[in-house]
C-alpha cells in the first residue's frame, strides 16, 4: 500500500501558524463513471479526513466525489505545544489510512 505523504514543519515557535500539506493515493471513484459494458462503477471515496494534535481534533474535512483522485489538501493549524499530529483518512469501505508526524514547539 502506498503510504500517505504529509509535510509538517519539524519545529515551530509557540503560537506560530503552520501550514500542513497532505497527499494520499486513492482512486476517489465517484460512482458516476461507467465501464465498457455501460455498468456504473460503484462509488469508493474518502469521506472524512481528520487531523488531531496530541489527541485533540484541530481540523476536519467531509469529502464528496468532487474531490480529485489522489487527494491533496493543505490547511493551517496553530503550533501550541510539542507533540504528535495524527492524520486519518476514512473511505466508504471503512478502511482507515493513517500517518503521524512529530513537531517540536519552542
Amino acid at each position: 500500500m502506498i503510504e500517505p505523504r504529509v509535510r509538517v514543519p519539524s519545529t515551530a515557535r509557540q503560537g506560530e501558524i503552520i501550514e500542513i500539506k497532505t497527499l494520499l493515493s486513492h482512486p476517489m471513484e465517484t460512482g458516476h463513471r461507467r465501464d465498457v459494458y455501460g455498468k456504473l462503477i460503484p462509488r469508493q471515496i474518502i469521506h472524512t479526513f481528520t487531523c488531531t494534535y496530541n489527541g485533540t481534533e484541530v481540523f476536519k474535512a467531509d469529502w464528496h466525489p468532487a474531490v480529485a483522485a489522489n487527494p491533496y489538501l493543505a490547511f493551517f493549524t496553530v503550533a501550541t505545544e510539542s507533540g504528535r499530529l495524527r492524520f486519518e483518512w476514512i473511505d466508504d469501505e471503512g478502511t482507515v489510512y493513517a500517518t503521524e508526524a512529530e513537531i517540536t514547539v519552542a
Binding site: 502506498i2 503510504e3 505523504r5 509535510r7 500539506k21 497527499l23 494520499l24 493515493s25 482512486p27 476517489m28 480529485a68 483522485a69 489522489n70 491533496y72
Partner: protein, 332 residues
C-alpha cells in the same frame, strides 16, 4: 527599367534558397535544416568593401585606437553573454524542456499543471516514487536479497540508467526496456516472481529508478545491434492503422501544437514516463500510453510489454533525444 538589386541583398537570399535543396532532416518529416554559412571571399559587394576598409583603417585610425576599440568590443561581448546567461537563468527551468525542435510535453501544459509537476510535495507521481523506494529496500524472493542488496543506494547506482533504455540486450537478442529489466533482475537475481505489467509495484519501481535520472538528457543508442529494432519501431510509428487510418506521425509530427477537439496535440515525447496522467487519474507507463493512442484511432492495441511496443519505445525515445528525464511527469 527594373532596379538591379544591390549585392548584399542578393547574397542574403542565396543562403535560404540553397537550404531548400538540402534533404529534409531525418525523423522530423518536413523540417529543413539551414545550409552552411557562406565562406567569406574577396567579394565586390558593399559588405566586403566595408570589411576591407575596416581592416585597412582599423576603425579608429591609429594602432592605439584599434586596441581600445577591440577591448571595448570584448567588454560589450562579455556583458552581452553575461546578460544572456542571467536571462536564461531568470527564465527558469522552462528553456531546457526544448532541445532544437524537440519539445517536451511539459511545454504543452497549462501553468497549473507545470506547477504541479514541479511541486516536490504535491506531484502525485511522487507517491509512487516513495513506494518504489520501499520496494527497492524490501527483501523478496528465495535468494533472500533486495534491489538494494546488489545496487546499494539508488541515487548513485541508478543515476543515468533511465536515459539509456530501451537498449539492445545480447542475452535476449533483442531490445529490453526498464520494466522488463527490473523483472529480469527479480527473476534471475532475486528468484522472485515478476511483477505484472502496469501493476502498482512495477510502476512504483520503474518510477523510482527513472526518478534517479531526473534532469539528465535522454541518450539512447540506435546503432549496431539495436538498428533493426529501431527501424521496426520507426516503421510502426509511420504506419497507418485503425478505423481512423492514422499513423503516429500524423498527429505528433504534422499536427503537433494544433488542437484535437478540446485538447492540444503534443509531439508525443516519452521523456517524462511513467507519467501521472489526469485522464487516468493514476500513474501509467509508456506502453499504456501507446495502447491508449492505438485505441483512440480505433486500432487493436498490442499487449503491454510486447516487442512491437518496445521497438516503438526506442524510436520514440530517440525522437526525444536530449530532452530531460522528467519522471514522474504530470500530463493531461
Amino acid at each position: 527599367m527594373p532596379l538591379k538589386p544591390r549585392l548584399p541583398w542578393r547574397r542574403a537570399t542565396l543562403v535560404p534558397a540553397l537550404s531548400l535543396l538540402l534533404p529534409p532532416w531525418q525523423g522530423q518529416g518536413r523540417l529543413i535544416k539551414g545550409g552552411p554559412a557562406p565562406t567569406p571571399s574577396r567579394g565586390t559587394g558593399l559588405t566586403a568593401l566595408r570589411r576591407r576598409r575596416r581592416a585597412k583603417v582599423g576603425m579608429g585610425g591609429s594602432r592605439a585606437g584599434q586596441g581600445t576599440l577591440r577591448s571595448l568590443w570584448r567588454l560589450s561581448a562579455c556583458v552581452c553573454v553575461a546578460l544572456l546567461a542571467l536571462a536564461i537563468a531568470g527564465a527558469g527551468e522552462s528553456w531546457r524542456y526544448s532541445v532544437e525542435e524537440r519539445r517536451s510535453g511539459y511545454t504543452y501544459l497549462s501553468e497549473e499543471n507545470q506547477r504541479l509537476q514541479d511541486d516536490d510535495f504535491a506531484n502525485p507521481g511522487l507517491l509512487w516514487v516513495e513506494r518504489g523506494h520501499e520496494l527497492w529496500q524490501q527483501i523478496d524472493g528465495t535468494a533472500g536479497t533486495s534491489c538494494a542488496g546488489c545496487h546499494g543506494d539508488a541515487a548513485t547506482s541508478m543515476r543515468g540508467v533511465r536515459t539509456r533504455y530501451p537498449h539492445f540486450d545480447p542475452q535476449k537478442g533483442q531490445l529490453i526496456n526498464l520494466e522488463q529489466q527490473i523483472n529480469r533482475c527479480r527473476a534471475e537475481r532475486m528468484h522472485a516472481p515478476s511483477y505484472p505489467y502496469e501493476s502498482d509495484a512495477l510502476l512504483a519501481l520503474t518510477t523510482f529508478v527513472a526518478f534517479q535520472s531526473r534532469g539528465l538528457p535522454i541518450d539512447v543508442r540506435i546503432d549496431g545491434p539495436a538498428q533493426p529494432f529501431f527501424a521496426a519501431g520507426k516503421a510502426l510509428y509511420e504506419q497507418r492503422r485503425g478505423q481512423l487510418d492514422l499513423a503516429c506521425t500524423h498527429c505528433h509530427d504534422r499536427y503537433a501544437g494544433q488542437r484535437l477537439r478540446g485538447d492540444v496535440i503534443s509531439q508525443g515525447q516519452i521523456n517524462g514516463f511513467p507519467i501521472y496522467r489526469h485522464t487516468w487519474q493514476t500513474l501509467g507507463s509508456t506502453h499504456r500510453m501507446f495502447a491508449w493512442c492505438n485505441t483512440s484511432v480505433r486500432s487493436e492495441p498490442y499487449p503491454l510489454g510486447s516487442d512491437e511496443y518496445v521497438n516503438l519505445e526506442l524510436f520514440v525515445a530517440w525522437r526525444g533525444r536530449g530532452l530531460p528525464v522528467e519522471t514522474p511527469a504530470v500530463r493531461r
